[in-house]
Amino acid sequence: MILGHLAVLSIVFFFFGAVIIPLVSRLGTWVPHAVAVATSAIVFVINATNLGYVLSQGTIRYAVGGWQPPIGIELVLDPLSSFFVLLLGGIAVVVLWHSRYPAAAELPGRTAPFYSATLLMLGAFSGIVLTGDLFNLYVFLEIAALAGYALLGGGSARAAVATFRYLIFGTIGASFYLLGVGLIYMGTGTLNMADLSAIMAVTGVEPLLVIGFVFIITGVGLKMALFPLHLWLPDVYASAVSSGTALVAPLGTKVAAYILIRILYFVLNPDLSRFQLPFTQVLGILGAAGIIWGSIMAIAQKDMKRMLAYSSVAQIGYIALGIGLGNTYGFIGAVLHTLNHACMKACLFLVSGNLLAAGRSQSIDALDHSLRKSMPWTSLSFTIAALSMIGLPPTAGFFSKWYLLLGSIENSAWIYVLVIVASSLLNAVYFFRVIERLYLPRGDVAAEEAPVVVADNRPSLVAPVVFLALLLVVLGLGNVIVVRQLIQPMLPAGF
Protein backbone atom coordinates (compact mmCIF):
# COMPACT_ATOMS: atom_id res chain seq x y z
CA MET A 1 0.00 0.00 0.00
CA ILE A 2 2.63 2.49 1.09
CA LEU A 3 5.04 1.27 -1.58
CA GLY A 4 2.74 2.60 -4.25
CA HIS A 5 3.24 6.05 -2.78
CA LEU A 6 7.03 5.88 -2.35
CA ALA A 7 7.37 8.43 -5.11
CA VAL A 8 5.82 11.24 -3.13
CA LEU A 9 7.12 10.17 0.27
CA SER A 10 10.48 11.84 -0.15
CA ILE A 11 8.79 15.21 -0.41
CA VAL A 12 6.25 14.43 2.26
CA PHE A 13 8.83 13.27 4.79
CA PHE A 14 10.87 16.42 4.41
CA PHE A 15 7.83 18.64 4.91
CA PHE A 16 6.66 16.52 7.78
CA GLY A 17 10.05 16.84 9.42
CA ALA A 18 10.02 20.58 8.87
CA VAL A 19 6.71 20.90 10.65
CA ILE A 20 7.57 18.49 13.48
CA ILE A 21 10.79 20.20 14.50
CA PRO A 22 9.32 23.33 16.09
CA LEU A 23 6.85 21.15 17.97
CA VAL A 24 9.33 18.72 19.45
CA SER A 25 12.16 21.18 19.94
CA ARG A 26 10.99 21.65 23.49
CA LEU A 27 12.21 18.19 24.33
CA GLY A 28 15.86 19.17 24.16
CA THR A 29 18.40 21.19 22.27
CA TRP A 30 19.69 18.09 20.52
CA VAL A 31 16.26 17.24 19.11
CA PRO A 32 16.04 19.47 16.04
CA HIS A 33 19.39 18.22 14.75
CA ALA A 34 18.47 14.60 15.40
CA VAL A 35 15.12 14.91 13.67
CA ALA A 36 16.70 16.62 10.70
CA VAL A 37 19.37 13.95 10.27
CA ALA A 38 16.87 11.14 10.76
CA THR A 39 14.48 12.60 8.22
CA SER A 40 17.22 13.03 5.65
CA ALA A 41 18.42 9.50 6.25
CA ILE A 42 14.94 8.06 5.76
CA VAL A 43 14.47 10.10 2.61
CA PHE A 44 17.86 8.95 1.31
CA VAL A 45 16.82 5.34 1.74
CA ILE A 46 13.52 5.99 0.01
CA ASN A 47 15.28 7.72 -2.87
CA ALA A 48 17.77 4.89 -3.21
CA THR A 49 14.93 2.38 -3.36
CA ASN A 50 13.19 4.45 -5.97
CA LEU A 51 16.34 4.73 -8.04
CA GLY A 52 16.86 1.00 -7.96
CA TYR A 53 13.27 0.45 -8.98
CA VAL A 54 13.40 2.99 -11.77
CA LEU A 55 16.61 1.59 -13.24
CA SER A 56 15.24 -1.90 -13.33
CA GLN A 57 11.56 -1.40 -14.05
CA GLY A 58 11.30 1.91 -15.85
CA THR A 59 9.83 5.31 -15.19
CA ILE A 60 7.36 5.73 -12.36
CA ARG A 61 4.57 8.21 -12.85
CA TYR A 62 2.66 9.12 -9.78
CA ALA A 63 -0.57 11.10 -9.94
CA VAL A 64 -0.81 13.28 -6.87
CA GLY A 65 -4.14 12.90 -5.13
CA GLY A 66 -5.28 10.42 -7.71
CA TRP A 67 -6.09 13.16 -10.24
CA GLN A 68 -4.86 12.06 -13.61
CA PRO A 69 -2.53 14.13 -15.74
CA PRO A 70 -2.52 16.27 -17.84
CA ILE A 71 -4.99 18.14 -15.65
CA GLY A 72 -3.74 16.70 -12.40
CA ILE A 73 -0.18 17.11 -11.16
CA GLU A 74 2.05 14.13 -11.61
CA LEU A 75 5.43 13.23 -10.20
CA VAL A 76 7.83 11.66 -12.67
CA LEU A 77 10.63 9.41 -11.49
CA ASP A 78 12.84 8.65 -14.43
CA PRO A 79 16.59 7.94 -14.29
CA LEU A 80 17.39 11.67 -14.43
CA SER A 81 15.13 12.80 -11.60
CA SER A 82 15.83 9.78 -9.42
CA PHE A 83 19.55 10.45 -9.73
CA PHE A 84 19.20 14.09 -8.74
CA VAL A 85 16.87 13.45 -5.87
CA LEU A 86 19.22 10.78 -4.52
CA LEU A 87 22.05 13.30 -4.71
CA LEU A 88 19.89 15.71 -2.69
CA GLY A 89 19.22 13.16 0.00
CA GLY A 90 22.82 12.04 0.22
CA ILE A 91 24.39 15.47 0.53
CA ALA A 92 21.66 16.49 2.97
CA VAL A 93 22.47 13.61 5.31
CA VAL A 94 26.19 14.33 5.34
CA VAL A 95 25.89 18.11 5.75
CA LEU A 96 23.17 17.92 8.38
CA TRP A 97 25.16 15.36 10.31
CA HIS A 98 28.08 17.77 10.32
CA SER A 99 25.99 20.81 11.21
CA ARG A 100 25.48 20.02 14.87
CA TYR A 101 28.23 22.14 16.39
CA PRO A 102 28.53 24.85 13.74
CA ALA A 103 24.79 25.55 13.78
CA ALA A 104 24.69 25.65 17.55
CA ALA A 105 27.70 27.95 17.62
CA GLU A 106 26.65 30.36 14.89
CA LEU A 107 22.92 30.45 15.66
CA PRO A 108 22.65 30.05 19.40
CA GLY A 109 19.16 29.25 20.52
CA ARG A 110 17.77 29.34 17.00
CA THR A 111 18.63 25.89 15.77
CA ALA A 112 15.00 24.76 15.60
CA PRO A 113 13.93 27.32 12.97
CA PHE A 114 17.22 26.68 11.14
CA TYR A 115 16.61 22.95 10.79
CA SER A 116 12.96 23.50 10.03
CA ALA A 117 13.83 25.85 7.18
CA THR A 118 16.46 23.38 5.99
CA LEU A 119 14.03 20.52 5.72
CA LEU A 120 11.47 22.76 4.06
CA MET A 121 14.03 23.75 1.48
CA LEU A 122 15.14 20.18 0.90
CA GLY A 123 11.57 19.05 0.49
CA ALA A 124 10.98 21.80 -2.03
CA PHE A 125 14.15 20.83 -3.90
CA SER A 126 12.90 17.28 -4.06
CA GLY A 127 9.62 18.60 -5.37
CA ILE A 128 11.34 20.59 -8.09
CA VAL A 129 13.22 17.54 -9.23
CA LEU A 130 10.33 15.12 -9.09
CA THR A 131 7.46 17.15 -10.48
CA GLY A 132 6.19 16.75 -13.99
CA ASP A 133 4.12 19.90 -14.08
CA LEU A 134 5.48 23.31 -15.02
CA PHE A 135 3.45 25.40 -12.62
CA ASN A 136 3.99 22.98 -9.78
CA LEU A 137 7.69 23.48 -10.42
CA TYR A 138 7.21 27.23 -9.92
CA VAL A 139 5.48 26.63 -6.61
CA PHE A 140 8.24 24.37 -5.36
CA LEU A 141 10.83 26.77 -6.74
CA GLU A 142 9.39 29.56 -4.64
CA ILE A 143 9.04 27.39 -1.54
CA ALA A 144 12.68 26.45 -1.88
CA ALA A 145 13.63 30.06 -2.44
CA LEU A 146 11.77 31.36 0.56
CA ALA A 147 13.06 28.64 2.83
CA GLY A 148 16.50 29.37 1.43
CA TYR A 149 16.19 33.06 2.24
CA ALA A 150 15.31 32.17 5.80
CA LEU A 151 18.22 29.75 5.98
CA LEU A 152 20.80 32.07 4.51
CA GLY A 153 19.61 35.34 5.96
CA GLY A 154 19.08 34.24 9.50
CA GLY A 155 22.60 34.79 10.71
CA SER A 156 24.42 38.08 10.84
CA ALA A 157 23.12 41.37 9.52
CA ARG A 158 25.55 41.13 6.60
CA ALA A 159 23.85 37.88 5.74
CA ALA A 160 20.52 39.71 5.80
CA VAL A 161 21.78 42.29 3.33
CA ALA A 162 23.19 39.65 1.00
CA THR A 163 20.02 37.60 1.27
CA PHE A 164 17.89 40.64 0.50
CA ARG A 165 19.75 41.11 -2.74
CA TYR A 166 19.36 37.39 -3.43
CA LEU A 167 15.64 37.76 -2.74
CA ILE A 168 15.30 40.51 -5.30
CA PHE A 169 17.25 38.59 -7.93
CA GLY A 170 15.60 35.30 -7.14
CA THR A 171 12.07 36.64 -7.21
CA ILE A 172 12.66 38.34 -10.52
CA GLY A 173 14.03 35.07 -11.81
CA ALA A 174 11.09 33.08 -10.57
CA SER A 175 8.72 35.66 -11.99
CA PHE A 176 10.37 35.38 -15.38
CA TYR A 177 9.88 31.67 -15.11
CA LEU A 178 6.20 32.21 -14.32
CA LEU A 179 5.82 34.56 -17.26
CA GLY A 180 7.34 31.93 -19.49
CA VAL A 181 4.98 29.30 -18.18
CA GLY A 182 2.10 31.66 -18.83
CA LEU A 183 3.13 32.15 -22.43
CA ILE A 184 3.48 28.44 -22.93
CA TYR A 185 0.08 27.81 -21.40
CA MET A 186 -1.42 30.37 -23.69
CA GLY A 187 0.20 28.74 -26.64
CA THR A 188 -0.54 25.10 -25.94
CA GLY A 189 -3.17 24.91 -23.21
CA THR A 190 -1.26 22.48 -21.03
CA LEU A 191 1.09 22.67 -18.08
CA ASN A 192 2.15 19.05 -17.93
CA MET A 193 5.67 18.49 -19.25
CA ALA A 194 5.04 15.21 -21.03
CA ASP A 195 1.85 16.53 -22.56
CA LEU A 196 3.60 19.69 -23.68
CA SER A 197 6.26 17.64 -25.35
CA ALA A 198 3.68 15.61 -27.21
CA ILE A 199 1.76 18.67 -28.34
CA MET A 200 4.88 20.42 -29.59
CA ALA A 201 5.82 17.34 -31.57
CA VAL A 202 2.59 17.71 -33.49
CA THR A 203 2.17 21.46 -33.83
CA GLY A 204 5.79 22.55 -34.02
CA VAL A 205 7.23 25.43 -32.05
CA GLU A 206 5.80 28.84 -32.78
CA PRO A 207 7.37 32.16 -31.75
CA LEU A 208 5.08 32.48 -28.75
CA LEU A 209 6.46 29.28 -27.31
CA VAL A 210 10.04 30.22 -28.12
CA ILE A 211 9.62 33.48 -26.18
CA GLY A 212 8.08 31.53 -23.37
CA PHE A 213 11.04 29.19 -23.24
CA VAL A 214 13.46 32.10 -23.37
CA PHE A 215 11.79 33.59 -20.29
CA ILE A 216 11.90 30.22 -18.55
CA ILE A 217 15.57 29.69 -19.32
CA THR A 218 16.45 33.23 -18.20
CA GLY A 219 14.60 32.77 -14.96
CA VAL A 220 16.23 29.44 -14.27
CA GLY A 221 19.60 30.86 -15.28
CA LEU A 222 19.21 33.49 -12.59
CA LYS A 223 18.57 30.80 -10.01
CA MET A 224 21.52 28.81 -11.27
CA ALA A 225 23.92 31.76 -11.08
CA LEU A 226 24.73 31.45 -14.74
CA PHE A 227 27.08 34.18 -15.87
CA PRO A 228 26.21 37.12 -16.01
CA LEU A 229 23.30 36.52 -13.66
CA HIS A 230 25.53 35.30 -10.85
CA LEU A 231 26.00 38.58 -9.00
CA TRP A 232 23.97 37.54 -5.99
CA LEU A 233 25.97 34.41 -5.24
CA PRO A 234 29.32 35.49 -3.78
CA ASP A 235 27.89 37.75 -1.07
CA VAL A 236 25.29 35.23 -0.03
CA TYR A 237 27.64 32.26 0.23
CA ALA A 238 30.28 34.29 2.01
CA SER A 239 28.14 35.79 4.73
CA ALA A 240 25.68 33.03 5.51
CA VAL A 241 25.93 30.49 8.30
CA SER A 242 28.47 27.78 7.37
CA SER A 243 26.00 24.93 7.48
CA GLY A 244 23.54 26.94 5.47
CA THR A 245 26.06 27.60 2.76
CA ALA A 246 27.25 24.03 2.90
CA LEU A 247 23.73 22.91 2.11
CA VAL A 248 22.73 25.52 -0.44
CA ALA A 249 25.99 25.67 -2.38
CA PRO A 250 26.13 22.02 -3.46
CA LEU A 251 22.43 21.68 -4.09
CA GLY A 252 20.67 24.91 -4.97
CA THR A 253 22.30 25.61 -8.25
CA LYS A 254 22.34 21.93 -9.23
CA VAL A 255 18.56 21.80 -8.97
CA ALA A 256 18.37 24.75 -11.32
CA ALA A 257 20.73 22.94 -13.68
CA TYR A 258 18.36 19.97 -13.52
CA ILE A 259 15.49 22.21 -14.60
CA LEU A 260 17.54 23.36 -17.57
CA ILE A 261 18.32 19.80 -18.60
CA ARG A 262 14.70 18.84 -18.23
CA ILE A 263 13.45 21.77 -20.30
CA LEU A 264 16.09 21.68 -23.01
CA TYR A 265 16.34 17.96 -23.59
CA PHE A 266 13.13 16.39 -22.38
CA VAL A 267 10.37 18.94 -22.80
CA LEU A 268 11.77 20.51 -25.91
CA ASN A 269 12.86 18.12 -28.58
CA PRO A 270 16.65 17.78 -28.26
CA ASP A 271 17.18 18.31 -31.96
CA LEU A 272 15.16 21.51 -31.70
CA SER A 273 17.06 22.98 -28.78
CA ARG A 274 20.42 21.98 -30.20
CA PHE A 275 20.17 22.67 -33.90
CA GLN A 276 17.22 24.86 -34.68
CA LEU A 277 17.10 27.19 -31.73
CA PRO A 278 20.26 28.80 -30.34
CA PHE A 279 19.56 27.76 -26.74
CA THR A 280 22.41 25.32 -26.29
CA GLN A 281 24.94 27.50 -28.09
CA VAL A 282 24.14 30.47 -25.88
CA LEU A 283 24.26 28.28 -22.81
CA GLY A 284 27.67 26.97 -23.82
CA ILE A 285 29.06 30.45 -24.38
CA LEU A 286 27.71 31.78 -21.08
CA GLY A 287 29.05 28.70 -19.34
CA ALA A 288 32.52 29.26 -20.76
CA ALA A 289 32.43 32.94 -19.79
CA GLY A 290 31.33 32.01 -16.29
CA ILE A 291 34.18 29.52 -15.96
CA ILE A 292 36.83 32.09 -16.79
CA TRP A 293 35.22 34.92 -14.85
CA GLY A 294 34.63 32.83 -11.75
CA SER A 295 38.18 31.45 -11.75
CA ILE A 296 39.77 34.88 -12.19
CA MET A 297 37.64 36.46 -9.48
CA ALA A 298 38.39 33.60 -7.11
CA ILE A 299 42.10 34.28 -7.34
CA ALA A 300 41.50 37.83 -6.16
CA GLN A 301 39.65 36.88 -3.00
CA LYS A 302 41.09 37.06 0.50
CA ASP A 303 38.20 35.43 2.29
CA MET A 304 37.97 31.66 2.06
CA LYS A 305 34.20 31.47 1.62
CA ARG A 306 34.13 34.17 -1.04
CA MET A 307 36.86 32.34 -2.88
CA LEU A 308 34.81 29.15 -2.75
CA ALA A 309 31.73 31.09 -3.86
CA TYR A 310 33.41 32.42 -7.00
CA SER A 311 34.79 28.97 -7.55
CA SER A 312 31.18 27.77 -7.51
CA VAL A 313 30.32 30.24 -10.25
CA ALA A 314 33.08 28.70 -12.33
CA GLN A 315 31.95 25.15 -11.62
CA ILE A 316 28.37 26.00 -12.58
CA GLY A 317 29.91 27.27 -15.78
CA TYR A 318 31.31 23.78 -16.40
CA ILE A 319 27.88 22.26 -15.98
CA ALA A 320 26.31 24.85 -18.27
CA LEU A 321 29.07 24.17 -20.79
CA GLY A 322 28.36 20.47 -20.64
CA ILE A 323 24.65 20.99 -21.16
CA GLY A 324 25.37 23.46 -23.92
CA LEU A 325 27.64 21.08 -25.84
CA GLY A 326 24.65 19.00 -26.78
CA ASN A 327 26.42 15.71 -27.32
CA THR A 328 26.69 12.52 -25.32
CA TYR A 329 30.06 13.24 -23.73
CA GLY A 330 29.02 16.75 -22.85
CA PHE A 331 25.87 15.53 -21.20
CA ILE A 332 27.72 12.83 -19.26
CA GLY A 333 30.30 15.40 -18.21
CA ALA A 334 27.61 17.83 -17.04
CA VAL A 335 25.66 15.33 -14.98
CA LEU A 336 28.80 13.71 -13.57
CA HIS A 337 30.03 17.16 -12.65
CA THR A 338 26.85 17.95 -10.73
CA LEU A 339 27.53 14.86 -8.64
CA ASN A 340 31.24 15.57 -8.26
CA HIS A 341 30.86 19.25 -7.59
CA ALA A 342 28.14 18.69 -5.03
CA CYS A 343 30.52 16.42 -3.10
CA MET A 344 33.52 18.70 -3.57
CA LYS A 345 31.76 21.91 -2.59
CA ALA A 346 30.06 20.30 0.38
CA CYS A 347 33.46 19.05 1.55
CA LEU A 348 35.10 22.46 1.07
CA PHE A 349 32.37 24.43 2.83
CA LEU A 350 32.32 21.90 5.67
CA VAL A 351 36.07 22.42 5.99
CA SER A 352 35.54 26.16 6.30
CA GLY A 353 32.90 25.37 8.92
CA ASN A 354 35.48 23.30 10.80
CA LEU A 355 37.93 26.17 10.67
CA LEU A 356 35.30 28.49 12.08
CA ALA A 357 34.44 26.02 14.80
CA ALA A 358 38.12 25.84 15.74
CA GLY A 359 38.15 29.57 16.24
CA ARG A 360 39.97 30.50 13.04
CA SER A 361 38.93 33.47 10.98
CA GLN A 362 37.79 32.98 7.42
CA SER A 363 40.57 35.04 5.95
CA ILE A 364 43.08 33.04 3.94
CA ASP A 365 45.93 35.14 5.27
CA ALA A 366 45.05 34.04 8.77
CA LEU A 367 45.67 30.38 8.01
CA ASP A 368 49.01 29.14 9.20
CA HIS A 369 50.77 25.87 9.02
CA SER A 370 50.03 24.88 12.56
CA LEU A 371 46.80 23.66 11.06
CA ARG A 372 48.51 20.66 9.58
CA LYS A 373 49.15 19.46 13.14
CA SER A 374 46.07 20.79 14.91
CA MET A 375 43.55 19.81 12.24
CA PRO A 376 45.25 17.09 10.20
CA TRP A 377 42.14 15.38 8.91
CA THR A 378 40.51 18.63 7.90
CA SER A 379 43.65 19.78 6.10
CA LEU A 380 44.00 16.46 4.31
CA SER A 381 40.36 16.50 3.21
CA PHE A 382 40.74 20.05 1.98
CA THR A 383 43.77 19.01 -0.04
CA ILE A 384 41.98 16.08 -1.65
CA ALA A 385 38.92 18.20 -2.44
CA ALA A 386 41.15 20.95 -3.84
CA LEU A 387 42.98 18.47 -6.07
CA SER A 388 39.61 17.31 -7.31
CA MET A 389 38.49 20.87 -8.04
CA ILE A 390 41.69 21.47 -10.00
CA GLY A 391 41.06 18.27 -11.88
CA LEU A 392 43.97 16.02 -11.01
CA PRO A 393 43.63 12.29 -11.35
CA PRO A 394 42.57 10.01 -9.81
CA THR A 395 40.01 12.23 -8.11
CA ALA A 396 36.51 12.70 -9.41
CA GLY A 397 37.03 16.21 -10.76
CA PHE A 398 39.52 14.94 -13.36
CA PHE A 399 37.03 12.61 -14.90
CA SER A 400 34.17 15.06 -15.30
CA LYS A 401 36.61 17.45 -16.99
CA TRP A 402 37.81 14.58 -19.18
CA TYR A 403 34.28 13.98 -20.45
CA LEU A 404 33.71 17.69 -20.97
CA LEU A 405 36.96 17.81 -22.96
CA LEU A 406 35.88 14.89 -25.10
CA GLY A 407 32.54 16.56 -25.71
CA SER A 408 34.22 19.83 -26.71
CA ILE A 409 36.60 18.05 -29.07
CA GLU A 410 33.72 16.13 -30.59
CA ASN A 411 32.09 19.45 -31.46
CA SER A 412 35.44 20.87 -32.61
CA ALA A 413 34.87 23.63 -30.06
CA TRP A 414 38.55 24.35 -29.49
CA ILE A 415 37.77 27.52 -27.53
CA TYR A 416 36.05 25.36 -24.92
CA VAL A 417 39.07 23.07 -24.78
CA LEU A 418 41.23 26.10 -24.11
CA VAL A 419 38.77 27.36 -21.49
CA ILE A 420 38.76 24.05 -19.64
CA VAL A 421 42.56 23.80 -19.66
CA ALA A 422 43.12 27.43 -18.67
CA SER A 423 40.54 27.35 -15.90
CA SER A 424 42.09 24.24 -14.37
CA LEU A 425 45.34 26.15 -14.11
CA LEU A 426 43.58 29.16 -12.58
CA ASN A 427 41.92 26.84 -10.09
CA ALA A 428 45.35 25.44 -9.24
CA VAL A 429 46.59 28.94 -8.42
CA TYR A 430 44.07 29.77 -5.77
CA PHE A 431 43.78 26.31 -4.29
CA PHE A 432 47.50 25.72 -3.98
CA ARG A 433 47.78 29.09 -2.31
CA VAL A 434 45.62 27.75 0.51
CA ILE A 435 47.33 24.35 0.57
CA GLU A 436 50.68 26.11 0.90
CA ARG A 437 49.31 28.11 3.83
CA LEU A 438 48.09 24.94 5.47
CA TYR A 439 51.28 22.96 5.19
CA LEU A 440 54.23 25.27 4.77
CA PRO A 441 55.62 27.89 7.11
CA ARG A 442 55.72 31.42 5.83
CA GLY A 443 58.79 33.56 6.16
CA ASP A 444 62.18 32.16 7.02
CA VAL A 445 63.18 29.28 9.21
CA ALA A 446 60.17 28.03 11.14
CA ALA A 447 60.47 28.58 14.85
CA GLU A 448 59.61 25.54 16.86
CA GLU A 449 55.87 25.63 17.37
CA ALA A 450 54.27 25.59 20.75
CA PRO A 451 52.54 22.30 21.46
CA VAL A 452 49.42 22.41 19.34
CA VAL A 453 45.99 21.59 20.59
CA VAL A 454 44.34 19.11 18.30
CA ALA A 455 41.09 20.72 17.24
CA ASP A 456 40.02 17.89 14.95
CA ASN A 457 38.60 15.89 17.77
CA ARG A 458 34.86 15.91 17.27
CA PRO A 459 33.74 12.98 15.14
CA SER A 460 30.67 14.77 13.84
CA LEU A 461 32.93 17.52 12.50
CA VAL A 462 35.69 15.36 11.10
CA ALA A 463 33.94 12.25 9.82
CA PRO A 464 31.67 13.90 7.22
CA VAL A 465 34.59 15.85 5.79
CA VAL A 466 36.83 12.82 5.52
CA PHE A 467 33.97 10.74 4.15
CA LEU A 468 33.34 13.23 1.36
CA ALA A 469 37.04 13.44 0.53
CA LEU A 470 37.32 9.67 0.25
CA LEU A 471 34.12 9.59 -1.75
CA LEU A 472 35.77 11.88 -4.28
CA VAL A 473 38.55 9.35 -4.86
CA VAL A 474 36.06 6.49 -5.05
CA LEU A 475 33.83 8.41 -7.46
CA GLY A 476 36.88 9.16 -9.54
CA LEU A 477 38.14 5.63 -9.94
CA GLY A 478 34.63 4.24 -10.16
CA ASN A 479 33.24 6.87 -12.47
CA VAL A 480 32.53 4.32 -15.15
CA ILE A 481 30.06 2.60 -12.84
CA VAL A 482 28.24 5.89 -12.35
CA VAL A 483 28.32 6.63 -16.06
CA ARG A 484 27.19 3.20 -17.22
CA GLN A 485 24.60 2.47 -14.56
CA LEU A 486 23.18 5.86 -13.73
CA ILE A 487 23.87 8.34 -16.48
CA GLN A 488 23.54 6.34 -19.64
CA PRO A 489 19.92 5.38 -18.90
CA MET A 490 19.05 9.05 -18.64
CA LEU A 491 20.45 10.20 -21.97
CA PRO A 492 17.85 12.11 -23.96
CA ALA A 493 16.56 10.85 -27.27
CA GLY A 494 18.85 11.39 -30.20
CA PHE A 495 22.07 11.30 -28.13
Binding site: F135, Y138, V139, E142, L146, Y149, A150, G153, A157, R158, A160, V161, T163, F164, L167, I168, T171, I172, S175, L178, L179, G182, Y185, M186
Partner: protein, 122 residues
Protein backbone atom coordinates in the same frame (compact mmCIF):
# COMPACT_ATOMS: atom_id res chain seq x y z
CA UNK B 1 -0.84 49.74 -35.87
CA UNK B 2 -3.96 50.99 -34.16
CA UNK B 3 -5.32 47.46 -34.16
CA UNK B 4 -2.16 46.33 -32.47
CA UNK B 5 -2.80 48.70 -29.58
CA UNK B 6 -6.54 48.49 -29.66
CA UNK B 7 -6.84 44.72 -29.67
CA UNK B 8 -4.16 44.10 -27.08
CA UNK B 9 -4.45 47.16 -24.85
CA UNK B 10 -4.68 44.97 -21.79
CA UNK B 11 -1.36 43.33 -22.55
CA UNK B 12 0.22 46.74 -23.15
CA UNK B 13 -0.94 47.81 -19.72
CA UNK B 14 0.54 44.67 -18.32
CA UNK B 15 3.83 45.32 -20.06
CA UNK B 16 3.81 48.89 -18.69
CA UNK B 17 3.38 47.60 -15.15
CA UNK B 18 6.22 45.12 -15.70
CA UNK B 19 8.50 47.90 -16.81
CA UNK B 20 7.53 50.13 -13.89
CA UNK B 21 8.19 47.28 -11.51
CA UNK B 22 11.58 46.49 -12.99
CA UNK B 23 12.47 50.16 -12.99
CA UNK B 24 11.63 50.34 -9.32
CA UNK B 25 13.74 47.33 -8.47
CA UNK B 26 16.76 48.41 -10.44
CA UNK B 27 16.83 52.18 -10.18
CA UNK B 28 15.44 53.05 -6.79
CA UNK B 29 17.91 53.41 -3.94
CA UNK B 30 15.51 52.85 -1.09
CA UNK B 31 15.18 49.19 -0.21
CA UNK B 32 11.46 49.42 0.56
CA UNK B 33 10.87 50.99 -2.82
CA UNK B 34 12.71 48.08 -4.38
CA UNK B 35 10.33 45.74 -2.65
CA UNK B 36 7.39 47.75 -3.88
CA UNK B 37 8.79 47.57 -7.38
CA UNK B 38 9.14 43.83 -7.00
CA UNK B 39 5.56 43.61 -5.89
CA UNK B 40 4.38 45.62 -8.90
CA UNK B 41 6.44 43.35 -11.13
CA UNK B 42 4.80 40.27 -9.70
CA UNK B 43 1.35 41.82 -9.94
CA UNK B 44 1.98 42.57 -13.59
CA UNK B 45 2.62 38.92 -14.26
CA UNK B 46 -0.43 37.91 -12.31
CA UNK B 47 -2.50 40.32 -14.34
CA UNK B 48 -1.01 38.86 -17.49
CA UNK B 49 -2.39 35.45 -16.63
CA UNK B 50 -5.76 36.85 -15.71
CA UNK B 51 -5.98 38.75 -18.96
CA UNK B 52 -5.10 35.61 -20.85
CA UNK B 53 -8.01 33.84 -19.23
CA UNK B 54 -10.60 36.33 -20.48
CA UNK B 55 -13.02 35.50 -23.25
CA UNK B 56 -15.45 37.89 -24.95
CA UNK B 57 -19.12 37.42 -24.09
CA UNK B 58 -18.49 34.99 -21.27
CA UNK B 59 -19.18 34.98 -17.60
CA UNK B 60 -17.51 34.02 -14.36
CA UNK B 61 -16.79 30.30 -14.02
CA UNK B 62 -19.47 29.59 -11.51
CA UNK B 63 -22.06 27.15 -12.66
CA UNK B 64 -25.10 29.00 -14.01
CA UNK B 65 -28.20 26.83 -14.42
CA UNK B 66 -29.26 28.90 -17.43
CA UNK B 67 -26.17 27.82 -19.37
CA UNK B 68 -25.31 24.20 -20.09
CA UNK B 69 -22.38 22.71 -18.30
CA UNK B 70 -20.83 21.50 -21.52
CA UNK B 71 -20.79 24.96 -23.07
CA UNK B 72 -17.21 25.85 -22.15
CA UNK B 73 -17.13 28.99 -24.28
CA UNK B 74 -19.61 30.64 -21.97
CA UNK B 75 -17.27 30.62 -19.02
CA UNK B 76 -13.85 32.27 -18.79
CA UNK B 77 -10.93 29.93 -18.26
CA UNK B 78 -10.71 29.25 -14.52
CA UNK B 79 -7.31 27.56 -14.55
CA UNK B 80 -5.14 30.70 -14.73
CA UNK B 81 -7.17 32.17 -11.92
CA UNK B 82 -6.45 29.22 -9.69
CA UNK B 83 -2.80 29.31 -10.62
CA UNK B 84 -2.67 32.97 -9.76
CA UNK B 85 -4.23 32.41 -6.38
CA UNK B 86 -1.13 30.38 -5.62
CA UNK B 87 1.09 33.02 -7.16
CA UNK B 88 -0.51 35.76 -5.08
CA UNK B 89 0.15 33.75 -1.93
CA UNK B 90 3.74 33.24 -3.02
CA UNK B 91 4.02 36.99 -3.59
CA UNK B 92 2.66 37.75 -0.16
CA UNK B 93 5.07 35.31 1.47
CA UNK B 94 7.95 36.86 -0.45
CA UNK B 95 6.90 40.29 0.76
CA UNK B 96 6.84 38.98 4.28
CA UNK B 97 10.33 37.54 4.09
CA UNK B 98 11.60 40.68 2.38
CA UNK B 99 10.25 42.90 5.13
CA UNK B 100 11.62 40.61 7.81
CA UNK B 101 15.05 40.99 6.25
CA UNK B 102 14.59 44.74 6.01
CA UNK B 103 13.67 44.98 9.66
CA UNK B 104 16.85 43.11 10.52
CA UNK B 105 18.91 45.34 8.25
CA UNK B 106 17.37 48.48 9.69
CA UNK B 107 17.88 47.24 13.21
CA UNK B 108 21.60 46.83 12.63
CA UNK B 109 22.48 49.61 10.20
CA UNK B 110 19.69 52.18 10.87
CA UNK B 111 19.25 52.95 7.20
CA UNK B 112 17.21 51.71 4.30
CA UNK B 113 19.07 53.59 1.62
CA UNK B 114 21.28 51.37 -0.48
CA UNK B 115 24.24 53.73 -0.80
CA UNK B 116 24.32 54.59 2.90
CA UNK B 117 24.02 50.91 3.66
CA UNK B 118 27.05 50.08 1.53
CA UNK B 119 28.96 52.80 3.39
CA UNK B 120 27.98 51.52 6.80
CA UNK B 121 28.77 47.95 5.94
CA UNK B 122 32.43 48.70 5.40
Amino acid sequence: MIELIDDYYAYWFCFLLLTIGLYGVIVKRNLVKKVIGLSIFQSAIILFFIIAAYKDDSTVPILDPRIEVTNADAYINPLPHTLMLTAIVVGVATLGVAFALLIRIYGKYATLDEDTLMERMK
